[in-house]
Each structure stands twice: as C-alpha cells, then as structure tokens.
C-alpha cells in the first residue's frame, strides 16, 4: 500500500531568475541565475548535488536536447541529469523526479531545474510545435489560445452563463493577477490594468482577448530537495515539506469520447482528489492558504478553481467577481502574478509556482506577503483541455 509523499521530502533551497524578455541572457545564463540562488539558499555547493532533473520544452530554441545542457551550464559534478518533458507541466514533472529520488533513498540531495528561452524565437506567442507525421494530417493547425478558448465556450454553454458576464469574470481574473504581479520584482508584466482594458482588448481567440492570455517569457527556476533529517543537519530551521505530488495524464477519454462536455478539466479533478487524499486534506477551502494555478489563460484559472474544489461548479464566475481569489480574498490565487504576469517560460513554470509558495510559507515574499500562510497548492497543466498532463502539488510547513 502506497503511503504517499507527505512530509518525506523538504525543500532545501530555491531560486528563480527574473522572468521576462531576457534579451540579455542565454538559457545558460538563466540556469545559472536560478541555480546560484537555489544553492545559496540551500547553503550547499553544487558538488553536494547527487542527481538532477531538467525540464525544458522547446529544444530548438536554445536549450538543446538531453540532459547535457543543464550538466554543462551548471558544471554539475558528473551526476545523472534526466531531461523531462510534459508540455507546460514539465517543471512539476522534474520536481516529482527529484522528490521521488530523495524519498526512495537513492540520493540525499537532488535538484530540479526548468528553463525556457522563448523570446529568441521571434514569435509573440508560443511557436508552433511539431507533433509527428500523422496528427497534422487531420488535426487543426491549432494554437493554445483557441484550445483554451474552447473551454470558455463550452463552460458558458454548460452553465448557461451570459457571454458578457463571463467576459467580466475573466477580466477580473486578469486584473487581479496584474495587480499582484505589479508588486513582484521578478515578474515579466508589472503594470496594473483595468477591467475596461481587458474587455476592450483585441480578440486573440474568441472569446479570449489579449489580456486573457499569459505572458510568453524567458526564465528559469530551481528547487533543491532533501530529507528533513539532512536539512536539519545542514542547519535549516523552518522547513517546507511536500504533502502531495500528483500527476494525471489524459488517456483520450476527453477528446475521443462524447461524454466530456468540455467545460472543465477532468485530469485536474482527479489529480486534486488524489492530492487532497495524499495530503490528508478534507476541506481545501479552509485548509489551503494560497494557490498558484496554471493560468495560461484567464478561463483556465477560473475553471481550475472549480476543479480544485475552491468554487462549486458553475460558481467560479460569481466567486471570482466577489474577489474570493484576490490578494485579500478567501484563498489568494497567483499572488506572484501567475503565468499571466510573472510569465510563462514553459519548462520553468511548475517550479516557479512552487517558488512563490515556498517564499510565502517562509515569510519572504516582500510586499506581496500574505499573513501566516501554512499550506499552498500548485496546479501545473500541460497540453490542452481535451488532452493534457495535470500536476497538483501541495506543500506546507514541515510538521511531522
């Protein structure tokens, strides 16, 4: 019988580069920036790392394939570097690898690092990825905004929500994240915006407008993990421990069957249920202090909050407009600005989410620090609503 990951592994240190249009930096520079901060935070040398997990999605935009880009950039001490890739959930996948390695006892200290250098592609959005030889012969030449916009059309239909009301709720999601991101010195987009700006922005993919889409950024983030005993042995006092790590991957049910109505993320619901069980959480709305969810688009955040059980199905619009997820709301969401404003370097995003929860739990979040948070959740999504990889991680202060 699996006992889960709860309290078996803690964070020894974390680092995150500044996200944004990093014209000044190469992927190697970004990796060094994130890793140097993580090592300093952990109080160890790179030579003390036993194993590494490396997350990057677009191998053709400067990071390269395999594990060598990370091994070389960080001059790692001849350790194994495993490159993982699970679309936008790759960062969380890397964390899972490192955490499981430590939990298994196979190594003492492991690092997970994610990096993406998107701004050298020349695209304003994500470059089109190749998906083999068969799918392009029948599948639409689809882009992420339209894949997620379908979540909005199906959601509005399922819950009979007037398009104008849904647009307002989506605008509130983005206004909130911009307000939060404005207080984050590492965020890509740091200007507050108004509801009117959102509502009047050009349509990218109906019904999503420009401000419903997250930033496409350069950046890197890293986490160093170990056991609670080793962390204490290294002099760490306040420890942030993993309470749950769940990944659920679509099996084709959503896209090939007719039962899914397209208004929610099936994998998120399953991953959340398993994560809450693993962490021993019965009432997430009361238990969670904050969340960092995969807000690649405003509709994704709104629906995810329902799928995580933080709003009832169909009530996300009302809760969002009531400010339940604002910085001063019931469960603040994207207090660091989220993908929307912190930015979305694909391979790094899952680790960046963890970085914010980690800072908040340790009281190190500066101007955006929440009052005494104890438990945070990250939700990291790769793919598209009808076919995806979903990760739900819960971290909290170590209490075992």
């Amino acid at each position: 019988m699996a006992t889960g990951i709860k309290n078996k592994v803690v964070i020894l240190g974390m680092g995150c580069s500044e996200f944004g249009e990093r014209w000044d930096a190469s992927p190697e520079d970004l990796m060094v920036e994130a890793c140097a901060e993580a090592l300093a935070d952990a109080g160890i040398e790179a030579g003390q790392l036993d194993a590494a997990w490396f997350s990057t999605h677009m191998d053709d935009v400067g990071t390269g394939r395999g594990g060598t880009p990370m091994g070389i950039a960080l001059r790692l001490p001849d350790i194994g570097v495993t490159r993982v890739e699970n679309f936008c959930a790759g960062g969380s996948e890397a964390v899972r690898g490192a955490v499981y390695a430590v939990a298994s006892g196979a190594c003492d200290i492991a690092i997970a690092l994610g990096v993406e250098k998107l701004k050298d592609t020349g695209y304003a959005g994500l470059p089109m990825a190749t998906v083999g030889t068969y799918i392009p012969q029948w599948y639409p030449n689809a882009v992420a905004p339209a894949n997620f916009a379908q979540l909005a059309t199906a959601y509005a239909h399922r819950h009979r929500i007037e398009p104008a009301l849904l647009k307002r709720a989506l605008a509130h999601v983005s206004v909130k994240s911009h307000a939060n991101g404005a207080l984050n010195p590492k965020a890509h987009l740091r200007k507050p915006i108004t509801e009117a700006q959102c509502l009047n922005a050009p349509i990218i993919a109906a019904p999503l407008g420009l401000f419903d889409c997250c930033g496409v950024s350069d950046g890197a983030a890293a986490v160093i993990v170990t056991t609670p005993d080793i962390a204490r042995g290294l002099g760490k006092r306040d420890l942030v421990a993993f309470k749950a790590l769940q990944v659920v991957t679509s099996n084709g049910w959503e896209m090939q069957g007719n039962d899914w109505d397209g208004s929610y993320l099936h994998t998120t619901r399953v991953a959340a249920r398993r994560a809450y069980a693993e962490a021993g959480i019965e009432r997430p709305r009361e238990a969670l202090s904050l969340t960092e969810v995969h807000d690649c688009f405003s509709i994704t955040e709104l629906v995810t909050l329902e799928d995580l059980g933080l709003s009832e199905p169909g009530q996300g619009v009302r809760d969002v407009l009531d400010g339940a997820f604002d910085a001063d709301g019931r469960v603040p969401c994207q207090i660091d600005g989220g993908l929307k404003c912190f930015g979305h370097p694909i391979g790094a995003s899952g680790i960046r989410m963890l970085y914010e929860i980690y800072l908040q739990l340790l009281g190190r979040a500066g101007q955006r620090q929440l009052a005494q948070p104890s438990l945070g959740l990250t939700h990291n999504l790769g793919g598209q609503p009808s076919q995806n990889v979903c990760s739900v991680s819960i971290v909290g202060l170590w209490d075992a």
Binding site: Q137, W138, Y139, Q150, L151, T153, A205, M255, N258, S386
Partner: protein, 487 residues
C-alpha cells in the same frame, strides 16, 4: 436501357460580385465596370478535386449503392496534380471500392462530355456503372474579362444501365485542332484568340456538326428537343447556335451566367443536372459543348426522373450562395495576391506519405472505428478501444463518419495563427451515434456557430505544402444549411 441513373452538382458558397470587381479595377480597366450579377468563387480550401467530391456526394446521396460503381472518370482542366491520380483522391474520399477503374481526363472544356460518353460506352459494353465527375477552378489574370465570366463548380453523374432517369439516344463528336484558347503545360492562365473568329469559324461551324450527328444517331428531330444545353461565355451565342441547329428558342437552358459564370469543363453537366431537376418524363435533352471540336449527346427523360433526386441539387447550391465583395479576398484565394503571412505562415507543411498511406481510410474517407464490444465510436481508429478500465484490443470495425449528423461541442475562432481566411475556426464536433473530432470549420463567418450548432462534413484542402507542391486533404465541418437559410 443505358443512360443516367443519378445526378448532382456543386457550386461553391461564395459568389463574387462583378460590380465589386469592376469597381476595384476601374482605374485600370474601366470597361469592366457595370457588369451585373455574380460568379461563383471556390473557397481557399477548395480545388477541382474537392468540388468534384462535393458534386459526387450530392449525386451519390441518391444512388442506391456506391460499391456497384466500376469506374470513376474525373474530367477537369485544373487538376491539382499533374502526376498523382486525382480521380484516385476522389475515389478515396468517396470510399469507393479499391477495384474501381479511376481515370483523369482533360485537354478541352468538353472533356466532361467525353467522360460521359466513355461512361456510356462502358455501360454499353457491359462494364457496369461509371461515376462521371467534372470540375474546374480556373485561374484568370486580374482585370481580365475572363475574371468576370468564369466561375468555379463541379458536376456528377452516374451512368449505367437499368433504372435510368435519362435514356441515352445518341452522340456526335468532332475532334479537330481548332485553337480558340490554349494553356501550355505549367502555365496557369489561358491565352485567348479573337472572339469573333472563335464564334464564327469555330463554335458556329463545329457545334452544329456534332449536334447533327447526335440527333441523327438518336433519330430525333431538332425541333422536338425540349431542353438545349449549350454552355458558352459569349452573350446570346447559345440562342444563335440553337437557331442554327434548328432547336426551338424556348428549349434553351439557363446557362447560369448571371449567378455562377462559366465553370468550364463541368458546365454542360452542371446545366444538365440543373435541367434534370425539373425535366418531365418523355422530354428530350440535347447537350453540346465546344472545345477542340465539339461534342453532343441526346437523352430522353424517363419516369425515374421523379424519384432520383440529388441530395441538394444545383438549385440547392444556387440558393445558398453568399455574395462576396472583397476583391482582394478573391485574388488571395486564387493565389494571385501573396498576402503577408507573418512568421506563423512559415510553418513547414510537409506530408509524410508513408503515414498518409497507412491511415488512408481515416484520412481520405473519414472512417473511424466502432468497438464491437462497447459500441463506442472513436477517431482516429486504433488497436485499443476507448474503454477506460478495460483492455479491448482489435475490437474495432471501420465506421464511416462523413455522412453522419454532427454538432459543435466546443469551438473558437482565432486570429493568432496564419490562416488564409481568418479567423481560423475550429472546435470539437460530436457525431450522431458517437464519435468526436477536433476539426477545422469552413464556409462560415464570425457569428455563424455556437455550441450545439448542427454541422455537416465536407472534403477540403487541409494544407498546401508550397515548398514541394503537395496538397493534402481532409474533412472539415461547416454549418448545416438548407436553402431556406441561404444568404
């Protein structure tokens, strides 16, 4: 009895306003101003193959059994492939038997009639039913008279024996190298000779010869003809030819010049399909077309004409037209105007031919899989059925989806990627009886669709690989429209 057993046609939804063309070109070619009516315009994702398939589906919707077809003849002077059997693409899309004889024909606008004659000859020889398809999507130079005169379209007939709706009575043909226009291999636009010479020395002399032969073989007097079908872009020439042939003026069939324009190779067959919709049993039809000589056929309509109806018919296609006033859209769709594509338009659209072959049933015929155990329908088909919790291997049987009803489950219309006709619409389509696809939408405007909108499937160009000159095809969803909802 040998003759036509089913008929159908296809006219693209878009109808380019001649006035809009005249206004756009007035600075350069003021003589083109003031032309009335519209001409049909193929969407960017249509070509002669897709239009031929559309016409065939219009026709075969009424045919009893596709598998009875023994031959498919595709006549066109604008086939997308010079080498790759275009008729073979159509046969795959129509899910016809692999044992079918499929041929491409061309070289003259009357190749449609030549294909019809070949089909009749096969029937007479006891070689079974033939699907005759004709389609053209011609290229013209901007600000030319031809730009206004021609149109895009297709027609389809099944010819064979048995329950024919129009009995073949006789044919006539004149094959001579009279060059009124020509197009060298590799060129895209026709070169035309002087109109008066073409009318007097060509059409007026050669067509009556073919007509006379056909009438003689049929044993029919010209004055007895009830419907005279003779496509020509020259105004009133059809009436003059009728008179010269001894055919009554009242017998002259509508040449669709005001709405569709001259579609070229398919035009005589398109007019025939239009005529058959209202022809009465016992009536005589004379069909003629000019080109490198001339060809003519005579048919007598039978009682079966009352029952063998096309799915939508030329009248149905005519009624669902939408006027297009964007001249630059027309140019862009025809490839005459290279619009800025941005970086997203740089995508390589190379086709893996081995993959296309392996999945040919799914890709060309839109055939999914239906699990014999669960009844679940899925696309693409695979070795394992979609049955969470169960391992059901090799339990699927082929399940065609193209002719089933469908509805939108989710959708969007995006302006981000490069698309020839933005915004790029696509979404999830749920089929009646099961099955779901995320697929491209086509032939629609912003505001035409929402969740739950009834859709139908059409065979279209999926992508063009400009670098290698390859066109790949797949199916798209379009709002289900009856004639009542036209324009």
């Amino acid at each position: 009895m040998i003759g036509i057993t089913a008929y159908g046609g296809y006219i693209p939804r878009l109808r380019l306003s001649r006035q809009a063309v005249g206004e756009a070109n007035a600075w350069y070619a003021p003589q083109l101003r003031g032309r009335p009516g519209t001409r049909s315009l193929a969407n960017w994702d249509e070509d002669s193959v897709t239009m031929a398939v559309a016409a065939a589906r219009d026709c075969l919707g009424a045919a009893p059994d596709r598998q009875a077809l023994r031959a498919l003849l595709l006549a066109s002077n604008t086939l997308p492939f010079a080498e790759r059997l275009n008729a073979g693409i159509a046969a795959g899309a129509l899910r016809l038997d692999d044992g079918i004889e499929a041929l491409d024909l061309g070289g003259t606008p009357r190749a449609g009639l030549s294909a019809l004659c070949q089909g009749l000859a096969r029937a007479r020889a006891g070689l079974g039913d033939t699907l005759v398809l004709a389609a053209d999507q011609r290229h013209t130079r901007p600000a030319s008279a031809q730009e206004l005169e021609v149109g895009d379209g297709a027609a389809a007939l099944v010819v064979g024996s048995g329950a024919v709706l129009a009995q073949w009575l006789g044919s006539g043909v004149v094959s001579v190298d009279f060059v009124d226009h020509f197009r060298a291999t590799g060129e895209t636009v026709d070169y035309h000779w002087e109109e008066r010479w073409v009318r007097e020395e060509g059409i007026a002399r050669l067509v009556p010869q073919a007509v006379a032969q056909a009438l003689a073989e049929a044993g029919v007097d010209a004055a007895a003809v009830d419907h005279f079908i003779f496509p020509t872009p020259f105004a009133r020439l059809d009436g003059q030819i009728a008179q010269r042939c001894g055919v009554r003026a009242a017998a002259l069939a509508d040449n669709l010049a005001d709405t569709v324009g001259d579609t070229g190779t398919p035009h005589a067959l398109l007019m025939l399909a239009h005529t058959l919709e209202r022809a009465q049993p016992g009536q005589l039809i004379l069909l003629a077309q000019f080109g490198s000589g001339a060809q003519a056929l005579v048919f007598r309509v039978t009682d079966h004409v009352r029952h063998a109806r096309p799915a939508r018919g030329v009248s149905g296609w005519l009624a669902r037209g939408v006027e297009e006033r964007q001249y630059t859209k027309f140019l862009a769709f025809k490839g005459t105007l290279a619009l800025e594509r941005g970086m997203r338009g740089e995508q390589d659209r190379k086709t893996a031919l081995s993959t296309a072959w392996r999945h040919r049933q799914a890709l060309l015929g839109l055939v999914g899989g239906r699990c014999r155990v669960t009844g679940q329908v899925q696309f693409p088909p695979g070795r394992l059925s979609l049955a969470p919790g169960q391992w059901l291997q090799d339990t699927q049987e082929p399940y065609p989806l193209a002719d089933r009803g469908a509805r939108i489950a989710s959708w969007s219309a995006e302006y981000l990627s490069w698309h020839p006709a933005p915004p790029h619409h696509y979404g999830q389509i749920d089929f009646d009886g099961g099955g779901r696809l995320l697929m491209d939408f086509t032939d629609l405007e912003v505001g035409d669709v929402e969740v739950g909108t009834a859709m139908e499937l059409v065979f279209r160009i999926k992508d063009r690989d400009d670098r290698r000159g390859f066109t790949r095809y797949f199916w798209k969803a379009t709002p289900l429209r009856g004639p009542a909802s036209a324009t």
